[in-house]
């Protein structure tokens, strides 16, 4: 039996290759997600380990890789001498680390940004726990004076600077920009590279003068242990000589904690990618079910013959499943390989807007292989099970008959299940609306899934009117060719619908996302329009805070009435990172018109405002305490009131600037709102501010409309990434159309021969196949658009109070998606149509 199975597989390479391809793509997505996040994790682990010494002395609670914000606390330099005197310490290296120092390249463009930090510190010879020196001078000299810097090799290369060149820098210090001579190049120790982070090395005195107001302090002290001294012993010994508020931690401990913190973020990225992998796999399942159904249908006579020759029902059943298993194994193997390539593709995608993983190593963990094969094999076997069972039911006597009708479960049963599932989905959604917060959304999500599957099941019936409308159009436009194409699409409603359903799922998500995106953009417009009273806004162009000096300089310009500095911090609230904004309340009240209890301007330092969405989600009411974990410790604020979520102020919580500084966060602005004095010449003032920020690629000056545009651009960027990831599911769906058409044409070989014999031109035959393909694609597109619009409206309503209160449906865009689907239909038909038109007429007529 096994030999028969394998021979069958070989005889049908092409047909199986197509369904195998669906497995390859699905598995590739799963494997690629894991490989990519592993690489990302590996690179970060490399950085963490490569920058951590045997023991690190830090302000208490500091040193976190992903903290609430940049820690403003420091350690007196004298502590370094005390530590160096300890017998357990081989070397103690005090360092000053500063974030927000960026290099402007020779071409005037900023190097890095958009996530990866721009780090500056003084050079030390500290050895990391990896055994490598954290940084090593590889060319030139170390900077010795304030007008000199060294850069890491990658940054210097990207920026296009050589030793001796004048380097432009952006700094978070009192001087927003500075120029220095490149004295040397250093190499970062760890293998994974810097993931896009840039390193600027200053002389010891220079960094303290520039960023620490000349105080002789360190942000941390790295300790290397004397021979035979363990990390724990080293840290314990160091702790004895430390002043209050400063602690010594072992390198392993600190590295592990930071890796955990990074792992959490990477887990989020992995989940995000895996969601798309699941979509791809679900769509792939449709394709596999369809392929095996058609293959079994076409082979029903042959299978009946094996039954007549004595094979048991179970053997036939098993034969089909073994066939599926072989395809699954081959597909999964290729899928893992393709996943590797996909991970490299993701690297390019992520690299295009932020983290650079050029130096990261992409490894294939055994876990990745295990998960990939499990997904590939399970999905294929589950998908092949129904057709296999049907194959087993073929009566042996069918082998003798001319036309074998495969026993098929009636459409009625399928319809019933589909309708019940859809109703259950509607019930879940209604329940979701009644419920609140996360549970409500979860119910709505489950409801959508149920409806999606339900509609896929009933699509052979609900698709009928769509096909009829198309058919009427075809008849008018293409005459009998159009009629034949429509009838072909109708011939196997199940097959057509299953093929279209795969596309439907992808397009439902695309339509849903485009509606949510459009609504988000409209909401942003409305919010900025309604609340922003400032005439100009300075924003950070690279998602990194900038020097507070900029706001101070703007304040001195004639015609500027008020300036509000908005800062951001990310302390933990109830164990998860929160989005906290801080501003001077009186200044902010000038720039924004946000109605809050008692007025925005009256916010005291011990109080907090929260968006209504967050307050609802966290179950907070006015008067409740809100505890935020800052490096200095936990700070408690009293909830004073709520404000509607608002694109003009990117924060979930709002506290005062003073409170944030008390919490130990370094002052750096994320946004600066500028109100002009009455009668001020707007253009003149703007020109003056423009001159001020001209040399700073990290910030941009915008009017409210431009500011809204910038916010919307970020929404677009996210949308494009989602579209790109959904594209793979759509590619699989398109393959499904190719597959179904190709198999259908094989099935209709005699008919094709007949049509050619009685005078159908090749061109007409190709058109017939193309029109059938377009029918399938449009069926999927129309169903997908309808579902996407319904889901989009429902979801927008569900989260309206969480900051998406405007519903906007991009009809033009949705229409464009339908047109694209038709084009996709044309493309999908290309190969099958070519094949059909090239069939030898006589052989085709004589075919079995």
């Amino acid at each position: 039996m096994l030999r028969l199975v394998l021979r069958n597989l070989l005889a049908r390479k092409l047909r199986l290759a197509l369904s195998g391809f669906a497995i390859v793509l699905g598995v590739a997505f799963v494997a690629g997600s894991f490989i990519f996040t592993d690489a990302l994790g590996g690179a970060f682990a490399g950085i963490i380990k490569g920058t951590t010494a045997d023991a690190e002395v830090l302000p208490e609670g500091g040193g976190a890789f992903t903290g609430a914000g940049e820690d403003a606390r420091t350690i007196p330099a004298a502590v370094e001498d005390d530590l160096a005197a300890l017998p357990e310490v081989a070397s103690a290296n005090g360092y000053d680390q500063v974030q927000g120092v960026y290099v402007i390249g020779a071409d005037g463009k900023l190097v890095g940004g958009n996530g990866p930090p721009g780090l500056a510190f003084n050079y030390t010879e500290t050895e990391a726990i990896t055994g490598d020196q954290i940084t090593t001078l590889i060319e030139g000299d170390l900077p010795t004076v304030a007008t000199e810097v060294a850069l890491d090799r990658v940054t210097a290369d990207t920026a296009g600077y050589a030793v001796g060149d004048e380097v432009e820098l952006v700094t978070p210090g009192p001087e927003p920009t500075m120029t220095a001579t490149l004295s040397g190049i250093i190499e970062f120790g760890s293998e994974g590279g810097l993931v896009g982070a840039t390193l600027t090395i200053f002389a010891d005195q220079a960094i303290q003068d520039l960023f620490f107001r000349g105080r002789d302090v360190y942000t941390g002290i790295s300790l290397n242990s004397a021979p035979g001294v363990s990390q724990a012993e080293l840290a314990a010994a160091a702790q004895q000589v430390l002043p209050e508020g400063v602690e010594a931690r072992t390198g392993d401990d600190l590295a592990a904690e930071n890796e955990d913190a990074v792992g959490e973020i990477l887990g989020f990225i992995n989940t995000f990618l895996l969601v798309f992998a699941v979509v791809a796999v679900v769509v792939g399942t449709f394709l596999i079910v369809n392929t095996f159904s058609i293959l079994v249908a076409q082979r029903s006579r042959e299978l009946a013959l094996t039954r007549a020759l004595g094979a048991s029902r179970r053997q036939v059943n098993r034969a089909v499943l073994i066939e599926a298993l072989v395809v699954a194994l081959i597909g999964s193997t290729l899928g893992v390989g393709a996943g590797y390539l996909l991970a490299l593709g993701l690297r390019a995608l992520f690299g295009s807007f932020g983290p650079d993983l050029g130096g990261a190593s992409f490894v294939l963990e055994s876990r990745t292989i295990l998960v990939s094969y499990t997904v590939g094999v399970l999905v294929t076997l589950v998908a092949a099970y129904l057709p296999a069972r049907r194959a087993g039911r073929i009566a042996p006597v069918a082998a003798m008959r001319d036309d074998v009708a495969l026993p098929e479960s009636s459409l009625r049963r399928r319809l019933l299940v589909g309708v019940l599932l859809s109703l259950a989905g509607v019930g879940l959604m209604v329940g979701g609306f009644a419920g609140s917060g996360q549970t409500g959304l979860l119910l709505i999500g489950l409801g959508m899934l149920a409806i999606l599957v339900g509609v896929a099941l009933v699509s052979p019936v609900v698709g009928r009117p769509v096909i009829s409308v198309l058919g009427a159009g075809y008849r008018r436009a293409f005459g009998s060719i159009g009629v034949l194409a429509t009838e072909n699409a109708r011939r196997n409603p199940r097959r057509t619908a299953a093929t279209a359903s795969a596309l439907m799922i992808g397009l439902t998500l695309v339509a849903l996302m485009s509606i949510l995106g459009q609504s988000a953009k409209a909401t942003t417009d409305k919010a900025i329009d309604a609340t922003l009273t400032a005439q100009l806004v300075i924003s950070n162009a690279i998602q990194t805070p900038f020097s507070t000096a900029i706001a101070e300089d703007v304040r001195d310009i004639d015609g500027v009435a008020s300036v509000a500095q908005f800062r951001q911090a990310f302390p933990d609230i109830d164990g998860s990172q929160a989005f906290v904004g801080a501003a001077d309340p009186e200044q902010l009240a000038q720039a924004l018109d946000i109605p809050t209890a008692g007025g925005l301007g009256a916010l005291p330092d011990d109080a907090v405002l929260a968006t209504s969405a967050v307050a609802d989600g966290q179950g907070l009411s006015v008067g409740d305490p809100v505890k935020m974990d800052f490096p200095v410790g936990t700070e408690s604020f009293t909830l004073l009131g709520t404000f509607p979520p608002n694109g003009a102020i990117p924060a979930d919580y709002l506290i005062t600037t003073d409170a944030l500084e008390q919490a130990g966060i370094k002052p750096a602005d994320s946004l600066v709102y500028i109100n002009l004095a009455d009668g001020a010449d707007r253009d003149a003032v703007r020109a003056e501010i423009d001159g001020l920020v001209a040399g700073l690629p990290t910030v941009t000056l915008k009017d409210p409309a431009e500011f809204a545009e910038e916010q919307k651009q970020q929404i677009n960027q996210l949308l494009y990434i989602v579209y790109l990831l959904l594209a793979l599911a759509i590619v699989i769906a398109v393959l499904g159309i190719v597959n179904t058409l190709a198999l259908s044409i094989i099935e209709r070989t005699r008919e094709v021969g007949l049509l050619r014999a009685i005078g159908m031109q090749r061109r007409q035959l190709r058109r017939m196949v193309r029109l059938e393909s377009i029918t399938i694609a449009l069926l999927g597109a129309v169903l997908g658009m309808v579902m996407g619009v319904v889901f989009g409206v429902v979801l927008q309503r569900a989260i309206a109070d969480q900051g998406l209160d405007v519903l906007a449906i991009p009809w033009g865009q949705l229409g464009a998606f339908v047109v694209v689907a038709a084009v996709v239909g044309v493309l999908a038909a290309w190969l099958p149509a070519r094949r059909a038109s090239r069939l030898d007429v006589l052989k085709a007529i004589g075919a079995e």
């Binding site: 005459g479 109708r490 011939r491 007949l754 014999a757 005078g759 159908m760 090749r762 007529i845």
Partner: protein, 265 residues
């Protein structure tokens, strides 16, 4: 084309042939495995005549018909359908020729299963983007006796009805010639009679030309003329055949073939 009924076999020889073949050869394979399916065959099919092509299997009768019907290419020789020589025509022109000038009836699977009987009948015209002549359509449909089954799909028709629909389709474009490849091979005797009777009428009443490949002497008896093939050549011919005479001739030809094979082998 007139609709005057013509007595079988009378005026036929006076007009130009509906189809003619000159020195046709068709060779499959090469060298050791070379098979000469047609070996320099020349034959004319007179207009308004019903001709049967007979011969033992392997005699080349199907190949001859496929070549004449522009479904297959020849190795050498000339074919003319009506006044059109097939030599050097492109696939596109040949397809158009099949559509407009040639009618087909195959042994089985003649109809597009998704289309109704009516749609099948007018399909070649529809493909060409033309409307059928309503008078001619009514005449043919009435003649095949399908007026009440036109809306049915092929699966709802009996085997004989399906073949009659195929005959009607073959005639719809008033072709120069209709080729029928064992049109009754899958039918019982009653249905066979209906189909052959109809083909006979198309020649007698509608001035059509029909060439039919068959191995059935009873079917051959419906025709005006039987052309016997053997080893890719015309070996004999019979006018106004009867089934007994045809059967007798077939026996002789088979015997000769067996003898020839024995002698040759």
């Amino acid at each position: 084309m007139t609709q005057t009924a013509t007595a079988p076999g009378t005026a036929a020889s006076a007009t130009a042939p509906a189809a003619s073949a000159r020195n046709l050869t068709k060779v499959y394979g090469s060298g050791q495995t070379e098979v000469r399916a047609l070996d320099g065959i020349s034959v004319d099919f007179a207009a308004r005549e019903f001709t049967a092509v007979m011969g033992p299997s392997g005699s080349g009768k199907s190949t001859l018909m496929h070549c004449l019907a522009a479904l297959d290419s020849v190795t050498s020789g000339d074919i003319t359908i009506g006044e059109t020589p097939l030599n050097g025509l492109s696939d596109k022109s040949l397809t158009a020729l099949r559509r407009d000038r040639i009618g087909f009836v195959f042994q089985s699977f003649n109809l597009v299963p998704t289309l109704s009987a009516h749609e099948n009948i007018v399909l070649p015209l529809a493909i060409a983007g033309r409307k059928p002549d309503p008078e001619w359509y009514d005449t043919v449909v009435k003649a095949v006796g399908l007026a009440d089954r036109l809306g049915h799909k092929p699966t709802e028709l009996s085997g004989g009805q399906q073949q009659r629909v195929a005959c009607a389709r073959a005639l719809m474009s008033r072709p120069a010639i209709v080729f029928a490849d064992e049109p009754t091979g899958n039918l019982d005797s009653a249905a066979t009679g209906e189909v052959l009777g109809f083909l006979r009428r198309t020649v007698d009443e509608f001035d059509q030309t029909v060439v039919m490949v068959t191995h059935d002497p009873i079917a051959a008896a419906y025709t005006d003329r039987v052309v016997f093939l053997g080893d890719g050549k015309v070996v004999d011919e019979m006018r106004r055949p009867t089934s007994d005479a045809v059967l007798e001739k077939m026996k002789v030809l088979s015997a000769r073939e067996v003898a020839g094979t024995a002698a040759g082998g």
